[in-house]
């Protein structure tokens, strides 16, 4: 700068310099390419390799996808149409669409029922997932949803879910009546109330009253089975997870010990062995003559499995709460149940939601393991009836690709949601 004197170091700028365009190397595609892809030689080589990999994948995949046959009765017909060209036999998807989604035993004319239940699932789950956006009243529907969905999917008399609901209602009424005196009294009273109601209503013959055609559990299959197992087990495991987490935090050594043993045991064994237990040995532990169907046993096992994992997530949430919250609640005179329900859990659960969602994604993926104990979920359908059938013996890629695609869509969607939620929670007002 000419006017910077070396001896008198004073310098004052009279007019500000304008902003200038950056040099060409700092601009546009060239800069971007240079910086992001060819910044040095190894990087350039990597880029070329990556480009080749992309090319190789796409050149294999695209013709196969674009040239696919969507309409053919069997793999042979499909290959004839293709006549030696690359292309996928996606006809298997159209042909067996319903089987892939609903399994091969769910009555065809009833497909609308699970479909409706599936659509309603979103209505029910929306107020939970986007608790800021949707009105609280929608939670009422969420609470009713399990009963509606049960009735839609399994059919039978509407009285069954209604009685179940009534049982919960009675349980809740008893609970809220006695909880004021003591939590334990309310809790066990509630359970007793519900059980008594169920026992009483169980004696009322409901056969055929306002009934839809009943579908037995063993007829569930396909992706529907994965969804049922996923949603049912995750939602059931949340209350159990909460109970286990609270138990593990408890200062009563025996209760704590039970919870620790349970959680560590479940987390220490693979889900498959638990499924074996469900399919092979659980029956030995039930009263002679009780005849749970397999799906129910599997639900019990997966729920136990998921609760252990969710308990650990929630324990993290509980630990993240400052001790002052517990003390403030105590000093206001709230009892244990009240302070848990009103103060601690709402906060702890909110912190835990992303973790719970992650567990849910993992669990949903793990529902495919039921195919190992020969249940016909999506993977089971593909590996069993469809690939074994004379018409479609050998269409691996289309089917496995489709299954991957379905799972990817769902799981990726959920995990994106959980990331969004984490960001949301980070910027939450506090």
């Amino acid at each position: 700068m000419s006017d910077t004197h070396q001896h008198s170091i004073r310098f004052v700028r009279e007019s500000m310099l304008p902003e200038q365009e950056p040099p060409a190397t700092e601009r546009g595609v060239i800069k971007w390419m240079r910086e992001n892809m060819f910044s040095n030689i190894p990087n350039g080589i990597l880029t070329l390799i990556a480009l080749y990999a992309v090319y190789a994948i796409l050149s294999g995949l695209l013709p196969w996808l674009l040239n696919g046959i969507w309409d053919a009765p069997s793999i042979r017909a499909c290959r004839e149409i293709l006549d030696g060209q690359t292309g996928g036999c996606f006809a298997v998807l159209t042909e067996r669409w319903n089987q892939l989604l609903f399994g091969f035993k769910y009555p065809n004319h009833l497909y609308w029922r699970p479909t409706v239940a599936f659509v309603l699932l979103f209505v029910a789950i929306a107020p939970v997932l986007f608790y800021n956006t949707f009105p609280r009243q929608m939670l009422i529907f969420t609470a009713l949803y399990p009963f509606v969905a049960y009735w839609l999917i399994w059919g039978g008399s509407i009285l069954v879910p209604i009685f179940a609901l009534v049982g919960f209602g009675v349980g809740y009424i008893v609970y809220s009546k006695y909880v004021a005196q003591s939590f334990a009294m309310g809790f066990f009273g509630g359970i007793a109330g519900a059980l008594v109601t169920w026992w009483l209503t169980g004696m009322i013959p409901v056969e055929g009253v306002l009934a839809m055609e009943a579908v037995p559990s063993r007829d569930m299959g396909g992706f529907m089975l994965n969804l049922i197992l996923g949603t049912v087990c995750v939602s059931l495991s949340i209350p159990f997870g909460i109970a286990l987490a609270l138990g593990r935090q408890s200062d009563m050594p025996f209760i704590k010990w039970i919870c620790v043993v349970f959680i560590e045991f479940i987390r220490g064994v693979p889900l498959i062995t638990l499924l074996f237990v469900a399919s092979v040995v659980l029956a030995y532990f039930l009263p002679p003559g009780t005849n749970f169907d397999l799906i129910l046993r599997v639900i019990i096992m997966i729920t136990m499995f998921a609760s252990a994992y969710i308990a650990e997530v929630i324990r993290g949430g509980l630990a993240a709460l400052p001790k002052g919250q517990y003390e403030a609640a105590d000093s206001l005179g709230l009892d244990y149940a009240q302070s848990m329900r009103l103060i601690i859990l709402p906060q702890a659960l909110k912190i835990s939601i992303p973790g719970i969602v992650n567990v849910a994604v993992g669990l949903f993926k793990d529902t495919t393991l039921v195919s190992v104990i020969s249940m016909f979920d999506l993977v089971g359908m593909i590996r069993g009836p469809i690939l074994a059938s004379t018409e479609w013996n050998g269409v691996y890629w289309e089917l496995l690709g489709f299954a991957s695609f379905l799972f990817f869509i769902t799981c990726y969607g959920i995990s994106q949601y959980s990331q969004w939620l984490e960001r949301q929670l980070n910027t939450d007002h506090r």
Binding site: R76, F104, L387, N393
Partner: protein
């Protein structure tokens, strides 16, 4: 008791294979059909009067026994071999034999193998949890040959692996081989080797301990066999049930005596069982007989009167 459970439920839970054409397989509509299925339907007809009142539970070689033991199914009709240990140690009751079989080997013709003794070093597909798995080990050991087992859960998987060439040989009951081969695109490219390396008497079984129920299943099976011997077919059964001069037929069809009462069923149980899918011979012909793609000949499974082993005890 199982009988009461079944009646209360209005449905018979019958364990079958996950899919073996000719023995038990669902068609595109999910309707089960086959030789073993026929036995299930006959029992359902005898007990409930309705051959359609069956819930078929597909089981693998591995899951079948637990399913039966845990009460998930009332009976198992799944080409299961009657063996000493299954009968005594696993505590099941085999009620009879509906197919006298033996273990065979299937290889692609292209391999040029003509005897099982030439299989040294082969890779063998084998269903786990079966007798054939154990026989296989014995056979190769006693012939001083080596092999690599490829353990597999279901026949369908075995078929895929075998066709993909993941194993050179597929071994199971000869009937199963024939049925599997029949489902191939080109059955002619595969041969079943002449050796039969074991006895595999296949029959329905029930849980040990409920003898009344066992009797029902046993005598339903016997009724099917006896019907063939006595010439009772689904075509003439209506006519014969009006009364014949053969007292055994009359007792079988319930027009004479009180056999039904003795096993706690109504008098027409035998008629219903036979009418469900025809007598033993009809079931055989329809599902696995020579005119089906599976093309099994009666062989050992002919009536004793024809030099076979089928011999129903007297209905008296």
């Amino acid at each position: 008791a199982t009988l009461d459970d079944v009646k209360a439920r209005g449905k018979l839970n019958c364990g079958v294979t996950t899919g073996l054409v000719g023995f038990a397989a669902p068609d595109a509509n999910g309707e089960w059909d086959g030789f073993d299925v026929g036995v299930c339907r006959a029992v359902a007809a005898a007990v409930l009067g309705d051959p359609a009142a069956v819930e078929f539970v597909p089981t693998t070689g591995k899951t079948r026994f637990t399913a039966l033991a845990s009460g998930e199914i009332d009976m198992l009709a799944r080409n299961t071999t009657w063996t000493f240990s299954r009968d005594t140690d696993l505590k099941f009751d085999f009620v009879g034999v509906n197919y006298y079989d033996g273990q065979g080997f299937m290889v692609p013709k292209a391999l040029g193998v003509s005897s099982a003794k030439e299989l040294d070093g082969a890779t063998v597909c084998i269903q786990t949890g079966t007798t054939t798995e154990l026989n296989l080990a014995d056979f190769f050991r006693s012939n001083n040959m080596e092999y690599t087992p490829v353990p597999i859960e279901t026949n369908a998987e075995a078929q895929q692996q075998y066709l993909a060439g993941a194993c050179d040989v597929y071994t199971t009951d000869a009937s199963g081989l024939a049925a599997t081969r029949a489902a191939f695109e080109a059955p002619g490219d595969h041969v079943v080797l002449p050796e039969i390396v074991s006895k595999e008497p296949l029959g329905p079984l029930v849980r040990h301990g409920d003898n009344d129920w066992g009797d029902i299943v046993r005598w339903t099976l016997n009724a099917l066999i006896a019907a063939e011997e006595l010439g009772v077919t689904s075509a003439n059964i209506e006519e014969l049930s009006a009364g014949t001069d053969n007292p055994e037929i009359n007792r079988l069809l319930g027009t004479e005596g009180n056999l039904g009462e003795m096993i706690g069923l109504d008098a027409g149980w035998g008629k219903a069982a036979i009418a469900a899918g025809g007598n033993y011979g009809e079931l055989f012909e329809k599902n696995i007989g020579e005119n089906t793609p599976i093309a099994l000949s009666r062989g050992l499974n002919a009536q004793w009167t024809d030099g076979g082993l089928l011999y129903a005890p007297p209905f008296r």
